[in-house]
């Protein structure tokens, strides 16, 4: 029987990754009601950027992280300008199909360039191993993940709650038409938010390699988890996404350690029940 603390710790680290990868989708969905199933493709892009920079050009791991963020954000801006903006008023079905098409293309492109194998990643030595404190064992990399995610979460919450930009975003999420009426440039705001959210996904993807691995199916496998986080947490709610990501991360880890025979059955069951109980998510208002 694995120790409870270890499972909890792993689950929290995993949940932090899920949060980073899904918070952007939650905010953009809440703002524009745009169902972007290609969100995890940006995460995958971030992962591959890190891999390429490290393995082909010998960059240090930490230096690749901002580049992963920037690359995913840049790619998302291009796609947003070319495709997505025409579909803000289209049906959810059209949005789903357009973005699934992009997922397919991204998976095939990744497979073409990098092959279908898991990508090797050599973490720097200071992120290796684990240490003991107060009789509990901490894996350094997972602790690092948690610290990074907590810092980003705090920055996000502060940015949304305490800045003018954040106030505009909150207004647009709450009532897009009213925000427009007050003279807020919702389209421009959305483009920036979209880029930030995709960049965070890219960062999440880069951080995820050492824990979850990276192959072309990443864009699909974790899409489902990200969608669960977003729909259970409630659209446009950072606190909701955080709570849902933690819940999902911990319960998925616990399920895999304690009842491996059930696979992901429990996760899906919990998601279904939560959605049936509260269709707009735990913290959702609409």
């Amino acid at each position: 029987m694995p120790p409870v603390f270890g499972v909890l710790f792993d689950g929290v680290a995993y949940g932090m990754l899920l949060f980073l990868m899904s918070v952007g989708l939650s905010v953009t969905l809440g703002m524009m009601n745009f169902v972007n199933l290609a969100h995890c493709s940006f995460a995958m892009l971030g992962g591959y950027v890190t891999i390429t920079l490290m393995n082909a050009m010998g960059w240090p791991f930490l230096a690749t992280l901002p580049i992963a963020f920037i690359a995913a954000a840049a790619a998302s801006v291009v796609l947003e300008r070319v495709f997505f903006r025409r579909f803000y008023n289209a049906s959810e079905l059209d949005q789903c199909l357009l973005t699934i098409g992009i997922v397919f293309v991204s998976i095939a492109t990744a497979a073409y360039i990098y092959g279908t194998d898991q990508q090797p990643l050599q973490l720097p030595t200071y992120l290796h191993g684990s240490f003991n404190y107060a009789g509990l064992s901490f894996a350094v990399y997972r602790l690092f993940l948690i610290v990074v995610a907590v810092v980003i979460t705090v920055a996000l919450v502060l940015g949304l709650e305490a800045t003018r930009f954040g106030a505009q975003v909150r207004a647009a999420v709450n009532n897009q038409r009213m925000a427009r009426g007050l003279g807020i440039n919702v389209d421009g705001l959305f483009a920036i938010t979209f880029a930030l959210g995709s960049g965070l996904a890219g960062l999440g993807g880069a951080l995820a390699i050492a824990m979850l691995g990276l192959d072309p199916s990443f864009a699909f496998t974790y899409l489902i988890y990200v969608l669960i986080v977003v729909s259970v947490g409630g659209l446009g709610s950072i606190a909701g996404s955080f709570a849902a990501a933690m819940l999902l991360g911990v319960s998925d880890m616990a399920g895999k350690y304690y009842v491996p025979a059930f696979g992901s059955f429990l996760i899906y069951l919990v998601m279904l029940l939560l959605l049936i109980w509260r269709p707009t998510g735990i913290f959702g208002r609409r």
Partner: protein
């Protein structure tokens, strides 16, 4: 928009039900593979089965506006039912179809109570969740389903004790085509009925329909159950003709593929799904020499192109073209 005038509602439905010559030509053309491409009958049979499955999705998505990302669940229930029944010693195909349809219909009826309550993202996630849940359940219950390896030891008896399922797929295609045609007739009748009209009303405006006295929830439950039965029959046909059942028949991939085919052909038109299934399956067969990963590049590109350029699918584009030609001449 039709400019014809109708004396009464009966006439309207009568006019809808009348067979157009293109329809007759389409079904006659479906017989051509027997003569023209006898080497591809196995593929043709797969296409007919997939077309049946797409038709079932069209009933809920195209005609009633219920988006589902987990429709393969009902297909898989039909497949596994037939597979298990055959494994336990009853391989009669027609009763197999019936059992597959009943099992999927029952599951569809139970889940329809959940489906009818939700819309938008919650609905998409719930259908996805039901599909994923079933895959995990089938994978865990490997004592029953064979888990990841699939169900072994299925044997289908001869149809009417006469037609054996041969290696070249003559019987398989004839059988699948017959099933498709019969179910299609039922679906066609259903769509051109007052009930079918009510469904389209729900698709167009789910809030206004209750206001004119339509039992929206009940209609959705009914059509969802019917679609589940048809999906179950499609799954059953696949299990009988291939004599294998695997987890893949339940999976998300199948749900996504069928959605793509429907969109490709055109939603909310009976022939859209059929056309989409034919185009998609033939194209995939032609590209099968390629790595499946690359196939997805092209299908992804096709999807983007269809959504951006042809919002109503191939059939919608063709209709538009035909109308323009008519106006021009």
């Amino acid at each position: 928009m039709t400019t014809e005038t109708f004396a009464g509602p009966q006439d309207f439905f009568q006019a809808q039900l009348r067979w157009h010559w293109i329809e007759i030509a389409f079904w006659l053309a479906m017989l051509l593979p027997f003569v023209l491409t006898p080497n591809y009958l196995v593929l043709a049979s797969q296409i007919a089965i997939t077309a049946l499955f797409v038709l079932s999705l069209d009933l809920i998505l195209g005609f009633s506006g219920i988006v589902s990302l987990g429709h393969a669940a009902y297909f898989g229930v039909g497949s596994y039912t037939v597979g298990l029944v055959s494994k336990w010693g009853w391989g009669e195909p027609l009763t197999g179809l019936l059992l597959g349809g009943i099992a999927a219909g029952l599951f569809g009826y139970l889940t329809s109570f959940i489906i009818a309550r939700f819309r938008h993202l919650a609905l998409i996630m719930i259908t996805l969740g039901i599909g994923l849940l079933l895959v995990e359940a089938a994978n865990s219950a490997s004592w029953l389903t064979g888990g990841f390896d699939g169900l072994q030891g299925i044997h289908t008896w001869r149809i009417f004790n006469t037609f054996r399922f041969d290696l070249y797929g003559y019987t398989a295609y004839g059988y699948s085509l017959a099933v498709l045609f019969v179910v299609f007739l039922v679906a066609r009748r259903l769509i051109h009925s007052p009930f079918g009209l009510a469904l389209r009303g729900i698709r167009e405006n789910g809030q206004r329909m209750p206001a004119i006295g339509a039992a929206t929830g009940q209609h959705i439950r009914t059509i969802y159950t019917i679609a589940a039965i048809i999906a179950g029959i499609a799954g059953a046909t696949l299990a009988e003709t291939t004599e294998t059942v695997s987890l893949e028949s339940l999976g998300f991939q199948r749900s996504a593929d069928v959605l793509v085919m429907l969109i490709l052909g055109g939603t909310g038109r009976l022939y859209g799904g059929l056309l989409g299934a034919i185009v998609y399956m033939v194209a995939r067969d032609q590209f099968s020499g390629l790595n499946p990963q690359y196939w997805y590049f092209w299908i992804g590109l096709l999807l983007i192109a269809v959504v951006v350029l042809l919002p109503n699918g191939i059939l919608g584009g063709l209709t538009l073209l035909a109308r323009r030609l008519k106006v021009a001449s």
